[in-house]
Amino acid sequence: MALFPLTSNFEGDFVLQLVAVDTENTMDEVASAAAHHSVNRRVADRPGYGLRVRRQGSKDLIPRTMKVSESGLKPMECIEVIWEAPAAAR
């Protein structure tokens, strides 16, 4: 359990933001923390869509239940938080 800063690049938003998470958080929780600072502030919500996390520049999504401490992410590394269409999110 330790605070862990990440750089959030949220799909559809215009700016990179600092997001503080915990090493025990899952990727779903990381996505939710990032969404808090973008969705309904500058990015319209997309009901039914899910959110997924990937490293900047990678096409591979990090598993939703993987913890930050297991992901290999570095402090302040830039993650892309992207919308996942309803069919894929199920």
Partner: protein, 500 residues
């Protein structure tokens, strides 16, 4: 007694190089202060300044300029121009004075360094006058806003900004320290006068003077026109250095210094001048869009000047042309969204009429930047004001110190440009800023951005209140929407019509 015409004696009078007898040349002109790159003294004597002025001429002209600007101010003090000005225009004044006034003093020291350590006699003469110009610019741009301090504390930031850790002040200091405060006489000539002032003179002083006149602010218009005529003279100090450097095998060095300064200047224009021209200046008073101004006065002019002087276009030219389309929209949105962290009240500038203008000038604006403003507008209309404020910090670039941002919406293209150096990961907004770092890492590596300082625990408590205290922003100074959200009235009326 008949006196000689200026050009009959000017060259002799300013040919003040001599062969030192009691000290070595490098003691008289230490290379680290002169920046002479091994080029001997006599080679610098071919320096030929395009704008020649003598000291008596200078004093006479400057006296008239000062008398003009101060008398316009005195005559209009009771005309309530300030009180009747559009709030967006008042924000232009506050942002301008805070970012610029104190840096003018700093520039006078840089000019003084050229006046003493430049190896070219003509450069020393021009810089002596330039040094006095900059002292005048510091004084006049502190005196003029002082009139408004009793009415509006944000004007106190004309004097205060550079002594704070406010983020825009950090960005301005980082950039100005880099391109002139911590540079030698040759570097100052190329970076401050040639790269920065040629552009900035045109952008901030010519463009804004036109907007000020349109807005009826004759005091500000006469002030900055008065300054602009000085700038257009001393901005010519750097140009004549270039042929000397090129002829003596130092073209690559000259090119690099100019490329660094021009890129860094661009970033400052994008956050300071861009929002002023395209969002703060009332729609009916806008002369040109920021993009049109950049293309006409910066891009075209620089390209021509560089090629004429024997240099090349910077390697990042295509990146710059691309950024002119969008970078300042992001800087504006960032400044507005984080508005409590600035010393002026940002004007959103997104009423339906203003959005139509933005769409006309920047086709696709509504489908990109407009998407973010749609969400903000809906929150304002619905009274969800807490959603219109931030709860975290933007990640800022480790070079320009400005938020890392780019085009949003379906065309989303935001990205971090990370760079590992000596075990530390630096975050940059662009290949340009990363490239500047790579040219001299030891120069930049120790600096901590606002986000670095936050993560190092230097900002306490770690929330917005702690950040505002760290930035020196007191109640009554922190920014809010310039027009009290009146730009959303049309959307509100539309919303009510639909509901009824």
């Amino acid at each position: 007694m008949a006196t000689l015409e200026r050009m009959d004696w000017y060259d002799i009078a300013r040919t003040t190089n001599w062969t030192p007898k009691y000290v070595q040349e490098d003691e008289l002109f230490p290379p680290e202060l002169s920046g002479t790159m091994g080029i001997p003294l006599e080679k610098w004597e071919s320096y030929d300044e395009p704008f020649k002025q003598t000291y008596p001429e200078y004093v006479k002209v400057q006296r008239e300029k000062d008398a003009g600007a101060y008398s316009v101010k005195a005559a209009l003090e009771r005309a309530k121009i300030y009180e009747n000005a559009d709030p967006g225009w008042r924000s232009v004044l506050k942002a301008h004075y805070g970012a610029i006034a104190r840096q003018e003093y700093q520039a006078s020291q840089a000019e003084a360094r050229m006046a003493r350590f430049g190896k070219a006699p003509g450069q020393r003469n021009m810089a002596t006058l330039g040094m006095m110009d900059e002292i005048r610019h510091g004084q006049i741009q502190l005196f003029f806003p002082h009139e408004h301090v009793s009415k509006d504390r944000q004007f106190d930031w004309a004097h205060k900004a550079m002594d704070t850790n406010e983020w825009a002040a950090i960005a301005a200091r980082h950039m100005f320290d880099d391109i002139f405060a911590a540079r030698n006489a040759t570097e100052i000539g190329l970076m401050l006068t040639f790269a920065f002032e040629t552009g900035f003179t045109n952008m901030q002083f010519l463009g804004l003077a036109a907007d000020a006149a349109e807005a009826g602010d004759w005091t500000f218009s006469s002030l900055i026109s008065s300054i602009q005529t000085d700038e257009s003279r001393h901005a010519q100090i750097g140009g004549p250095l270039i042929p000397i450097l090129v002829a003596n095998g130092r073209k690559a060095e000259a090119q690099k210094l100019i490329d660094i300064a021009l890129w860094r200047s661009w970033k400052l224009f994008s956050v300071l001048t861009g929002p002023m021209m395209d969002y703060y200046t009332p729609l009916e008073h806008r002369k040109q869009s920021f993009k049109e101004f950049m293309q006409e006065w910066i891009v075209t002019q620089f390209e021509r000047s560089l090629l004429d002087l024997g240099l090349e276009k910077p390697w990042y030219w295509d990146h710059l042309l691309d950024e002119i389309d969008w970078q300042h929209h992001g800087m504006h949105l960032g400044v507005w969204f984080w508005r409590p962290t600035v010393w002026w009240d940002p004007a959103a500038g997104v009423s339906p009429e203003e959005r139509a203008w933005l769409e006309e000038k920047y086709p696709g604006w509504n489908a990109t930047w407009g998407k973010c403003w749609d969400v903000i507008t809906e929150n304002v209309v619905e009274g969800r004001m807490e959603q219109t404020y931030p709860e975290t910090l933007p990640v800022v670039c480790n070079m320009c110190q400005l938020p890392v941002n780019a085009t949003p919406g379906p065309a989303w293209r935001v990205r971090d440009v990370p760079h590992m150096h000596n075990g530390r990961v630096y975050h940059f907004c662009s290949e340009g800023c990363k490239w500047v770092f790579e040219q001299e890492p030891s120069r930049y590596q120790g600096h901590l951005s606002l986000v670095d300082r936050f993560l190092a625990g230097m900002i306490q408590p770690m929330d917005l209140g702690g950040a505002l205290t760290y930035m020196g922003l007191a109640p009554g100074e922190i920014g809010d929407d310039a027009h009290k959200y009146a730009w959303a009235d049309a959307a509100r009326a539309e919303h009510l019509k639909k509901a009824s």
